[in-house]
Amino acid sequence: MTTLSLAARDSATMLRRDVRHSLRYPMMTVSGITVPVVLLLLFVGVFGHALSAGLGTPLAGVSYVNFLAPGILVMTAGFAAEATAVNVCTDMHTGIIPRFRTMAISRGSVLTGQVTGSLIRTMISGVLVVAVALLLGFRPSAGPVAWIAAAGMFALLTLALTWLTVSFGLMAKTPAGANSLALIPAFLPFLSSAFIPAGSMSGGVRWFAEHEPFTPITDTLRGLLTGTPIGGNAALAIAWCAGITLGGYFWARALYNRGG
């Protein structure tokens, strides 16, 4: 068997292990979905009316739930990645990891299994959050191609955040530490165009929101799902995701190989 097919086989084994874990201990996944759903309820039901009235022009006639849902989807990926950081950190401190390290298996398979497992969990979370948004009045205008493109954008974002938070999980000494680190990417969408257009913010916050990765990512998803203009945001979003993925991947690999 070639090295590559061995790596694929070991990664598939590790993925099965990861899926079993999430079935047996689903709390982290469930809590990862709870936050975006609560935010959705809060911003649509409680602040929605005041926000859309106050924003007026920038929303340009788009209903607030249509504006918000793509942003909440971005947050879903963020909070799912937070769970990944905690899971990885917990796993790394169990005795089974040293055992894997003394076995003649593909070195990267442990991480690949965890990343693939997270990817699957986050995609499912994304579907559930979209379903809740639809119940709350989200009316996307996307056709099949745009839906596929949106799913692809969401998957790319998830991949980037997962590799980044896997590194956090490997770096942190305790699951609580991993959780704190992973809250940074989970909360950064608040300072992006996820909740209100970046253009309606002021001063430094506006500058930050216009230049951070979550704004082009949110605007791309929003454009694909609701038909708002995307412009150069798609290229920017893909570039950000690719950059974070590569950075996170090499960082995680270095941390994993260093440890032990």
């Binding site: 086989r9 070991d10 084994t13 079993r20 047996r24 005795g95 894997f100 003394t102 003649a104």
Partner: protein, 346 residues
């Protein structure tokens, strides 16, 4: 051990594990200060020492988990530092801390190992079932490992190591924290493995365990090998056991001391210490002789040599010198009487 360089062609064929001048420091703390050892194929080597003596570090280096600072090591004919893949393919490791996946069942843990050993689905299931039965875990096969007792967990741990049929097995303190019965079961399992031709490298804090299992015992002290000998040879270097006779009054102690004509009397504690070779016959003879005296029956306790005695004999002081190691001399479940320590000349 004159040759400091290893010739893999000559040594590797005979030695499953060979180490020369192995060193490792963590910061300023020297953990291994140039140790040498040889483990011939198919034999059991026990590395004996208290916590913090460098046992686990040695296992971690030999099992490719840690890089040494200096010296050479050969495991199954390969250098763990430069050919970790080939070493890993030949070894199995059961660590001090349980290396099972707690969220998986016993059976799933074993099948995970079978998959990672690329055994194939049918063969993996067959092997898992066989090991579950051999390690008396069939009844708990469908339960999560998190619910297992200490002994069950350790058995599952070792069963997982055996899925890949390793030629060399490292057992890092395989019975620490186990109750006497689980400990005996573990010993039986280890003997069975040896009978199948597996080489065992085990670490332990218990002299009786090393004595029971090992063909050769290496005694590690502050990162140095202070002894490397067959168990019988090692025991010749340490004082034998003794019997303590506890009397209720000084007159009885005196008359017993006169009758036996040996041993040392502790008048204040009313204890007479008599040398003892560990044979039942000697104990019976001693008691028969005491029966001839018209004195109240003394209480009897047997003291067998333990790690403390070994270290005292070899180094001149007790093994508790390491800072913060938390070494506890008590807790050897198989000996009748716990080491009191009060009469050790420390």
């Amino acid at each position: 051990m004159q040759n400091l360089t290893l010739d893999p062609a000559s040594t590797a064929t005979r030695s499953a594990v060979a180490v020369r001048g192995l060193r490792k420091s963590f910061g300023k703390q020297v953990v291994l200060d140039g140790i040498d050892l040889d483990v011939p194929e198919g034999t059991v080597f026990a590395l004996l020492g208290p916590n913090g003596s460098g046992k686990t570090t040695t296992v971690r280096i030999l099992s490719t988990l840690l890089a040494a600072d200096g010296g050479t090591a050969w495991v199954a004919g390969h250098d763990p530092a430069t050919e970790p893949g080939l070493v890993r393919a030949a070894i199995g490791v059961t660590g001090q801390f349980s290396a099972v996946d707690e969220l998986l069942t016993g059976q799933e843990n074993l099948i995970l190992m079978a998959d990672l050993n690329h055994l194939g689905r049918a063969e993996g299931r067959r092997r898992a079932a066989e090991l579950l039965q051999r390690f008396e875990l069939t009844g708990a096969a469908g339960k999560m490992a998190a619910t297992y007792s200490g002994g069950m967990r350790r058995r599952l741990d070792l069963a997982m190591t055996l899925v890949g049929d390793p030629r060399i097995i490292f057992l890092d303190e395989p019975t620490t924290g186990l109750d006497p019965r689980s400990r005996r079961t573990m010993w039986e399992i280890i003997r069975e493995l040896v009978a199948r031709g597996v080489t065992i490298f085990l670490t332990t804090q218990y002299l009786d365990e090393a004595d029971e299992l090992a063909d050769r015992i290496g005694v590690l002290h502050h990162g140095q090998m202070v002894a490397d000998a067959a168990p019988a040879e090692l025991k010749r270097q340490i004082p034998g056991g003794r019997i303590d006779l506890h009397f209720s009054d000084a007159a009885a102690l005196d008359s017993a001391a006169r009758l036996l004509g040996e041993g040392s009397a502790d008048q204040a504690g009313l204890v007479l210490q008599v040398p003892y070779d560990g044979r039942a016959r000697s104990l019976k003879d001693l008691l028969d002789r005491l029966d001839t005296l018209a004195i109240p029956e003394p209480a009897v306790s047997v003291h067998t040599p333990d790690l403390d005695d070994v270290f005292f004999a070899l180094t001149g002081h007790a093994p508790t010198g390491q800072p913060g190691t938390g070494y506890a001399p008590a807790g050897q479940p198989s000996t009748g009487h716990p080491s009191t320590g009060q009469d050790d000349p420390r």
